[in-house]
Amino acid sequence: MPERTILMQGNEACSEGAIAAGCRFFAGYPITPSTEIAESMSEKLPRVGGKFIQMEDEIGGISAIIGASVGGLKSMTATSGPGFSLMQEGIGYACMAEIPIVIVNVMRGGPSTGLPTKTAQGDVMQARWGTHGDHFLIVLAPESVKETFYLTIKSFNLSEKFRVPVILLLDEAIGHMREKVIIPDYSEILTEDRLVPIVPPQWYKPYEITTDFVTPMAPFGSGYRYNITGLTHDEMGFPTSKESEIISKMNKLRDKIMRSSSDIVDYEALFTEEANTLIIAFGSASRSAKEAVQYLRKHRRKVGFFRPITIWPFPEKPLQRIIKKVDQIYVVEMNQGQLIDEIKKVECYHKKIFGINRYDGEMITPNQIISKIREAK
């Protein structure tokens, strides 16, 4: 497909990105404000020979995409808060069984049914710690419609590369906002496919501990007959309760992500070299934060800006380097303060940290940020 310039919604950009990344299966359940992703996938997928199914609930949605991924297709689902809660058990399964899937969560106000049509960023911690047990996964958060397109592709690439569920955190504002996106020719897009085994079936160990902790994955029906289970398993994929095997499995799940975290983490840093005040924001809130940074700099305030693009793994090291040089930190979030906890964990220089929060369902404004920072001094 040649290059196209389109005015599109964040949700549409997400499904465009999915198709460009090679997604060929979608299962989901309608929920505001993510429904447009399902709607557009229901048309886009059959055009490219892919499959779409509207399941009976979100649990069915995540289960079906895991099944399809085991069958060898790049798969995704899209949902919002309540549906994301229902999916947590399935996310844990995909972590344990190392099934690549992509879950899009278009955040809305919570808890519970909350504010279906309003925006929020309240699922930061749930995205990381929603399912039970120790687990490691990847969470990305775009700030614009264009970035939604590219991060959707990145989500698929990372999930295929590391055999891990990847969560794309949009919010209502980005999902429903319309912006110009230049969609490049698909042949110019770098896509990653999961490794498939090259050894003969009798030598294949579906969960072998390899040097980079990622094991090639054979799709079902390709001659490699093996077992997949959510029970803690050995290298052959069979349930185990031996201490040594449990530990090596748990370490494999951790190390395949954490040892590659410097390759995975992505962030944006602006004017941090000569700043004494640092503003940190992610997702749609960073649009207002950037505006505020520009304004404050015009008024001769030494303000820098940092935006984690991968929220998990958290860009600890680059942020630590920046924090070292500033005096105070403001964390802008559309929730009562979630990412700020992570920054407090990273920050070990006893700097002042303040939260600038808004959680009434509306976008945080540059004015709100500017006045908060001016108040402080």
């Binding site: 005015l7 649990i59 069915g60 895991i66 085991v70 007959r225």
Partner: protein, 302 residues
């Protein structure tokens, strides 16, 4: 004769001894399923077996197919995704009464409604065995279990009737006693293009038998023998007599459009449209296509 045949399909060296208690009916079902698969000459590399959580669902670890042991209640949902992704593979779901009808009831009825080509082998032992004998949605009224020691105040589901009402195209019932019939019914279910259910009464002497004083496995099997009425000889019994008994055999068979085949038609529809639009673009015509994108955008902008 039969033993070597079954061994061909088991992960005999790796996964045994199994977790099933002495006298459990699930092993009988596994043997029957293997014989049916063998009879139909299905390739081990093709057969996909998906199970949930529970005693019955442990079967997937023992058989040498593509096996997927999923979450409690979700095997049918996983299988739906897998089947739609790879329609050419035969997908068998191994489940139990708690797994499929309690926690997974929603997926069960919706898969039946879609008539997706899954073969569901449901082992019904009227109890939760793996967690130690709690009552299930098929425990009879006044039946006992560790969570209903004074008798079950609830009424049970009739799983086969539920599947028929939900739209399954093939529904059969049998018991762990009626093994040759079970072999045959599973074969028929595997051959049916669409959602097929084989409900199998499988005895649980350890919990169901103990709580309800049903005796040992042999006595429980004899109960199945004495109380099962083949659906073909239903007319020989009066209504009153039938109330005490249960019907076995093919209870329902009415083929209808299978989901993955129906979906293939959708794909073809869209791909024809796609080619038409390419052709008209090549000719230089600027006809807006009747398809989603362009139209929807102008709608919402208005």
């Amino acid at each position: 004769m039969t033993q070597p045949l079954v061994l061909n399909y088991l992960r005999a060296k790796k996964q045994f001894p199994h977790v099933w208690c002495p006298g459990c009916g699930h092993g009988i079902v596994m043997g029957s399923l293997i014989r049916a698969i063998d009879k139909l000459n299905m390739s081990k590399d093709d057969v996909v077996m998906v199970s949930g959580i529970g005693c019955s669902s442990r079967m997937t670890a023992y058989v040498d197919f593509n096996t997927l042991h999923t979450l409690h209640g979700r095997p049918i949902a996983y299988a739906t995704g897998l089947k739609l992704a790879r329609p050419e593979l035969p997908v068998i779901v191994i489940t139990g009464d708690g797994d499929a009808i309690a926690i997974g009831g929603n997926h069960f009825i919706h898969a039946a409604r879609r008539n997706i080509d899954l073969t569901v082998i449901l082992m019904n032992n009227n109890i939760y065995g793996m967690t130690g004998g709690q009552v299930s949605p098929t425990t009879p009224y006044a039946g006992r279990g560790s969570t209903a020691k004074a008798g079950n105040p609830e009424h049970p589901f009739d799983i086969s009737q539920l599947a028929i009402a939900a739209g399954a195209s093939f529904v059969a019932k049998t018991t762990a006693y009626h093994v040759p019939a079970m072999d045959r019914l599973i074969q028929q279910a595997l051959n049916n293009k669409g959602f097929s259910l084989v409900e199998i009464y499988s005895q649980c002497p350890t919990y169901e038998g103990k709580w309800n004083k049903r005796g040992d496995a042999a006595t429980m099997l004899k109960f199945y023998k004495d109380n099962a009425v083949p659906v073909t000889s239903k007319s020989k019994f009066s209504e009153e007599e039938l109330k005490e008994k249960f019907l076995i055999g093919v209870l329902h068979h009415s083929p209808k459009g299978e989901f993955t085949a129906e979906y293939q038609k959708i794909i073809e529809k869209y791909q024809i449209q796609e080619q038409m639009s390419k052709l008209s673009q090549q000719k230089g015509k600027n006809e807006p296509e009747a398809i989603g994108q362009e139209k929807k955008r102008s709608d919402t902008e208005d």
